[in-house]
């Protein structure tokens, strides 16, 4: 049986073999990603519910565990309504433009040493480019819907994403300075040593700015003026229903996971064990594979995102803009100088 399969595999031309392997790898990344997106929606509702002394969804399945499946089914079976005098092509293509870049960015994310789809040299730049392209889905959705609320949401989104991208880009420049590479694997490997060797200490302001800009880029509270329910109903996706709406939220949550994983990779040692360099514990936790540490760190950041949502009220729009341009960008520029000096003078233990 196994031999015949191997025979069959050998009969395929080599080019096609590589193609098939790549497609299989993509599936291995995307399928768990979409699964975790579904369950993050449940986690979000549960976490916020417990923070507000409620129980949250608990009817579908044991302790509400099947709730995402019920939600998905419901959205799948709902009618997709095309608003009158909406632009039909753009209205349908907008969710695709939102989810495409959100998934494409995952191709350069390493999950463990060597466990990556595309070991690209300019990985960091690629991620920045992909996350910035995602805004087209939102803008086009807002324009094509032929609705004032959706349009206002799209305009806010365009301004907000372009503003926070600059701060985010500068934070990434700091990481690239510290890690000496644009390749995410090399950045993680530059943090070898111990918990204190990770970049979160020398890059602490950039770390905070990256995290908060990530909140703004993914339109989460306290920067969710794009969706601001009390002001513009639901923002850019107010006219969307059924599967088209679901695709938008898929893209949003995929982006949240991406930002959280990047925080873990760039500032918190990625797949490196937090017990590295500690005599007894390091040996004790030797058996844990790196991907578990990476996912644990990512989950912590995702929890932070949910926690912020339950805690902070929404910023006013001018405050959002002020924070981005007048606070975050100057801080990043100053801290880039600090990091540059630290790298030049080879300050231990990070840059020696």
């Amino acid at each position: 049986m196994l031999e015949s399969i191997l025979m069959l595999w050998g009969a395929i031309p080599v080019d096609l073999q590589t193609l098939l392997i790549i497609v299989a790898k993509i599936l291995i990344i995307v399928a768990p990603l979409l699964g975790s997106v579904a369950y993050i929606t449940l986690a979000e509702r549960k976490v916020i519910a417990y923070m507000q002394v409620r129980i949250g969804p608990n009817r579908v399945g044991p302790r509400g565990l099947l709730q995402p499946i019920a939600d998905g089914l419901k959205l799948l079976l709902k009618e997709i309504i095309l608003p009158t005098s909406a632009n039909p092509y753009l209205f349908i293509i907008a969710p695709v433009l939102a989810i495409g870049p959100a998934l494409a960015a995952w191709s350069v994310v390493p999950f463990d040493d060597g466990m990556v789809l595309s070991d690209m040299d300019a990985g960091l730049l690629y991620i920045l480019a992909m996350t910035s392209v995602g805004v087209y889905g939102i803008i086009i959705a807002g324009w094509a819907s032929n609705s004032k609320y959706a349009f206002l949401g799209a305009l806010r989104s365009a301004a907000q994403v372009v503003s926070y991208e600059i701060a985010m880009g500068f934070a990434l420049v700091g990481v690239l300075l510290a890690g000496g590479s644009l390749n995410l694997q090399e950045i993680v490997n530059a943090q070898q040593g111990s918990l204190l060797h990770w970049f979160w200490i020398p890059l602490l302001p950039l770390f905070a700015i990256y995290l908060f800009s990530g909140l703004a880029e993914t339109n989460r509270t306290p920067f969710d003026v794009v969706e601001g329910e009390s002001e513009i109903v639901a923002g850019f996706h107010v006219e969307y229903s059924g599967m088209t709406f679901a695709v938008f939220s898929l893209a949003e949550y995929a982006n949240i996971i991406l930002i959280c994983m990047l925080c873990a990779l760039m500032f918190c040692g990625g797949w490196l064990s937090p017990f590295q360099g500690i005599p007894v514990l390091e040996g004790f936790f030797e058996f844990v594979p790196g991907i578990v540490w990476l996912l644990a760190k990512t989950s912590f950041f995702i929890f932070l995102f949910l926690w912020f949502r339950a805690t902070f009220p929404r910023y006013r729009y001018d405050q959002v803009m002020r924070l981005g341009w007048k606070v975050f960008i100057p801080i990043t520029i100053v801290w880039l100088l600090v990091v540059g000096a630290a790298v030049v003078f080879e300050i231990p233990p990070w840059f020696d």
């Binding site: 080019d15 753009l90 690209m120 040299d121 300019a122 730049l125 690629y126 920045l128 480019a129 910035s132 392209v133 805004v135 087209y136 803008i139 086009i140 324009w143 349009f151 799209a154 305009l155 365009a158 301004a159 994403v161 372009v162 991208e165 644009l182 001018d318 405050q319 002020r322």
Partner: protein, 207 residues
């Protein structure tokens, strides 16, 4: 035909089609979107030339920022296209003349005489460890450091000029200064009034 050639022709065809659509399509929003498509496909062509830094920067800067602002402006305009399209025949001779002059100039400069196949060496594929990003950075910050710095200063001047042109003093806005907003105290805004408890007369009578 190898896979590389095939990809090149696919990208080239999409690029030419998108570029044509940018200038011919009626709806300006679609024109911007086709321009985005054109940028994307040219980024793909650059990737095939192993210029991954330039390709990704094209997507990052032009697609991710410049075109978003373009979209922003175009969406806000409610352009009535009919007056814009008036006088097509009247301006046609001038337009054709300018177009022909530009085409001739381009052919003269980048034609086969200067950039023919015999003038330019075939590009050689680099080995696996080659980093285009690193090479570009090295050249930019050593050999061309002065032109690079001068260009950035010119850009800075342009930014300052653009901002100062749009900055108007004394306009009517409801903008609150954040530094004053932060230091506001409870006494400035809130007045607590002590009142004696009053029994409701009518309710007492009914009982």
């Amino acid at each position: 035909m190898g896979i590389e050639e095939f990809l090149f022709f696919v990208f080239a065809a999409i690029l030419v089609f998108a570029a044509l659509m940018v200038v011919t399509i009626r709806n300006p929003v679609f024109a911007v979107l086709f321009l985005v498509l054109a940028f994307f496909t040219s980024a793909g062509l650059w990737l095939m030339l192993e210029a991954e830094f330039l390709a990704i920067t094209l997507v990052l800067v032009y697609v991710g920022a410049v075109m978003v602002l373009f979209m922003f402006v175009v969406m806000m305009l409610d352009i009535n296209l009919a007056p814009l399209k008036e006088g097509f025949i009247r301006y046609l001779p001038v337009g054709v003349l300018v177009g022909v002059i530009i085409a001739v100039e381009i052919v003269l400069v980048v034609g086969a005489k200067n950039f023919g196949l015999d003038k330019v060496v075939d590009p050689v594929g680099h080995e696996a460890g080659y980093s285009n990003t690193k090479e570009l950075g090295r050249v930019l910050y050593t050999e061309y450091v002065y032109p690079f710095e001068i260009a950035s200063v010119i850009l800075l001047v342009a930014i300052i000029a653009a901002i100062s042109l749009t900055l108007r003093k004394g306009r009517q806005t409801k903008y609150v200064k954040p530094e004053q907003q932060v230091f506001v105290r409870k006494e400035d805004r809130l007045r607590i009034v002590k009142m004696d408890a009053v029994k409701k007369q009518s309710a007492a009578e009914e009982e």
